[in-house]
Symmetry: C2
Subunit: 611 residues, 2 copies
Amino acid sequence: MELGASIVEEEVVRFKVWAPLKKSVSVLFPSRRTGEKLVLQQDRWGYFEGSEESVSGAERYLYLLDGERALPDPASRFQPDGVHGPSLVVDPDSFLWEDDAWIGITLENFIIYEIHVGAFTEGGTFDAVIGRLGYLRDLGVTAIELMPVAQFSGTRNWGYDGVYPFAPQASYGGPDGLKRLINACHSRGVAVVLDVVYNHLGPEGNYLASFAPYFTDRYKTPWGDAINFDGPYSDEVRRYFIDNALYWLSEFHVDALRLDAIQGIYDCGARHFLKELAEAVHSLGRALGRNVYVMAESDLNDVRVIDPPEAGGYGLDAQWNDDFHHALHALVTGETTAYYGDFGKLRHVSKALSQGFVYTGEYSTYRKRRHGGPSKGRPSRQFIVFSQNHDQVGNRMARPSRTQSLEQLKLAAGVVLLSPYIPLLFMGEEYGEEAPFNYFVSFSDEALVKEVRKGRAAELALFGRAENAPDPGAEATFLDSKIGVRGHRSAWQNRLYHFYRALIDMRREFSDPNGPADEHMKIRKFEGQGALLVKRRSSRGSLSCLYNFGARRVSVRLTLPEGRWVRVLDSSSKEWGGPGELSQDTIEWTGKEVKITLTAFGLVLYRGDRP
Amino acid sequence: MELGASIVEEEVVRFKVWAPLKKSVSVLFPSRRTGEKLVLQQDRWGYFEGSEESVSGAERYLYLLDGERALPDPASRFQPDGVHGPSLVVDPDSFLWEDDAWIGITLENFIIYEIHVGAFTEGGTFDAVIGRLGYLRDLGVTAIELMPVAQFSGTRNWGYDGVYPFAPQASYGGPDGLKRLINACHSRGVAVVLDVVYNHLGPEGNYLASFAPYFTDRYKTPWGDAINFDGPYSDEVRRYFIDNALYWLSEFHVDALRLDAIQGIYDCGARHFLKELAEAVHSLGRALGRNVYVMAESDLNDVRVIDPPEAGGYGLDAQWNDDFHHALHALVTGETTAYYGDFGKLRHVSKALSQGFVYTGEYSTYRKRRHGGPSKGRPSRQFIVFSQNHDQVGNRMARPSRTQSLEQLKLAAGVVLLSPYIPLLFMGEEYGEEAPFNYFVSFSDEALVKEVRKGRAAELALFGRAENAPDPGAEATFLDSKIGVRGHRSAWQNRLYHFYRALIDMRREFSDPNGPADEHMKIRKFEGQGALLVKRRSSRGSLSCLYNFGARRVSVRLTLPEGRWVRVLDSSSKEWGGPGELSQDTIEWTGKEVKITLTAFGLVLYRGDRP
């Protein structure tokens, strides 16, 4: 990376910072008693640059702007003393990587496990996550996704208030801690997805605007000023964020980036920022000989995001499919608050499974307008689906494990994990973790905390959950969200965990990495029964999945394709804590209809012997 | 059109207005003494509708919203008493069209003449324009383009302050006047392009926001609130503007729409408004059996606007190419103020001629960022070019005829009219009209006029022309802008006029309507001489155009393709008011280089006898 402090040779550090509207920029070294400073020279694009000898690999520095204000580096690699303190020079080559042989995993093999570093373990650090990798390997996931780790104010935050996009959170263990974690992941064959926020910066410690026109008031985001991706000076703003993406791939060996809420990335220019970003990432991936991906959270329901450039798209590799979640959650729970009011029918889940988006141009009552465009035909590996994630769990103030039955939890897990899409689990869902995932912050600015309280209450009010909401600023709110620290698992939790394992095993065994699964998928709706039959075929065999989304037992009559069908999973089995299965063990093809009975919220899987 | 007042059968009028957040809407008839009103019924989409019997074909009406405020119809077809007065019921079928046989002209045959209805004639009405159609036919243009005619406040306005998108300006002659004009155009084989403004509404008499969420504060435009094309309730806003487009085509027989500044149309949804608009227009055109087009003014330099939908584009038919203008103007005049600073080199004109946009991703000093994307490969009929238009003439406070020599004017005209693109002339440029095209308004709100004065001064300051700017609010400012009212033309003006005619004849004779001209165009730059050679081939022969952009005589050496080359035009000829030609009459192909001499700003055309 060219920006920030770079060790160009032993004990020589080059500083480079963009400040096009400043007259002078110097580097201050607060730990030196002499008060000496390094005066930087400006180039025609507004970058100030200069080199200093005799800088140790871990020296603190600040930039002095126009002789007036000393601020940390916008491209700081480490903020050991927090968002207001000086930046630290980091030697990117000092870490000894052991993943030379790692080339990543291919997109269709991602099974993602989303982690909040602070809440995932008692320790709440990158290193503490390493201790759980064995557990995750056993579970069968192939990738962890870290909620944003860019330095934020304080020690408790979901991560979306980061203000130093290049500096891994000090309280999590800083850059070396993150490298140790990724190194350990790769040594266990686990890929790492990093959540990055390119639509806004957090409210406290955000000094970027003092350096340059990083922000614009031409567009609004719910989180503050939009980032200037298309106005005057935007070339260098774009470069800053694209460099950030490349930095995580090259200096941290990250395998994929998950871009937060790209509907907040406004670019009306002829070369969309996301397209340039994807091109840069893919080009670096080719140079590094590794599989690297850009995944996006998007509520646009627009395949332009994932369409290839030749079809006018941005060329991102995959995107979250919130519609899938909403359709599944509303159908399984019957919930109708807020955006769930747009969902709740069998056809919504059926469409999500077969086409990707549910809203492909239809009128959305919640949005008060037609929403989305067609997504049919995109490969299934381009959609990331889930029945839980940090937002959905966070917004409910309670885990699904506290509000849904074991049968409902198993059904939702099955629909996600047996879908042709890339599944994502939220930490703890695999064993029915009961700790909530609260919203927490630890700004030092009390006025800000007050504002967050207010904003949070408004968000929860959408779901009728504003009362008794925990205080986002209280430490207990964070501590209550830690998982796996409440003693042993109960019997039903163990059963759920083993059910998840079985589903993941089934997915891994059945998946056909040679082709998009949806090409060979057929769906049949049993409207009267509230049940779905999903037939998938791959070179490894055929799978017929029957889902009952209702709270009562139903029987469906269907004709299976030729062959012998063996039941390989029934969620109603006592083994999984169910009431006992009602479906047949095996079905010999006779050309006639068979009747299969499903218990409430039951899921039954048959495997055929012919591909 | 379903919106507004529609005569559904004799003396029965249906009223339909969208007001989704209102509890009640009634229709008032101010001319009736009884004070009776018609109470409308709301449907689920927020439309209020109802029918009234015994309404004469020309009755005035207002909508009473929630019993509180009586306002004119947002879809009013006619505002006889101005923007604050009642709307008038108009019978669209009462006009007797005589253009049954008219099917329009094809895109590549457009030669557009831009007109401001108020300033084009002494009368300043639609009917007065009719009296000039013979003149325009003789000139050779194939289409007129009317600056916006939607009802604005007062009687003097460029048109971009319109507030009733469906109501032709009353002081121009209202709907019947416009129909008479278009009918007359078609009877003379002239197509009509209408400038429509879908990026904002004017400041005075803009009551739309009182009816419904037509506007949004999510985006900013330089002209006020952006229109709500993608937020809650946007479906019906989109429908309103799409209906407007279709209305001009069906009720007024307009041949093409010119969309004002589409960079101010913000739509981040999955189905861009412009794409839907183009689809709707083309579909209506097919149904009507007429050639209809959507052209856009765009400063995005993004071919997404004109790319076909299958390539991810919006599918508009053509767009203005401002780069062409700036490149040509800066090179011919040497001007470097404001955006001209990005242009001024021979290579800019050469690129504009061969590729469309000049800025296709390069850094623009004026914009302080890289600008645009590649446009190579788009058919040449998709770009509309000009050396003058209302904006460019208006912003200079003087016509090019006052600041440039006759030789410069002829050169610019030649580059535009002999280009492979669709040429557009601004009224009067063909004879070197000397009246300025001032900026004028006639708002009744004096505070508004003050604001306009300020804004206008800022705009002119960009070009160092703020001093002595005429008062936009004064009637004289408008009257001074009227053309063709200053007595007879001088000799040089007549020569220029005949030169334009000759160029247009040449263009019409040479153009190959069977193929995009650019496929067969070759350009050679003579950097040292500041000259360009543009070779074009069509089934009708070959044309070699030599342009000297410098203020001194130059000679170029070149090899022409095999054949006999006849000089068909030399701008230096005394016939055109030039100093006398220096080029050869004919060139017999010998395989050797020939030397051709061009006078200052000279333009010479040779025609080859082989296609």
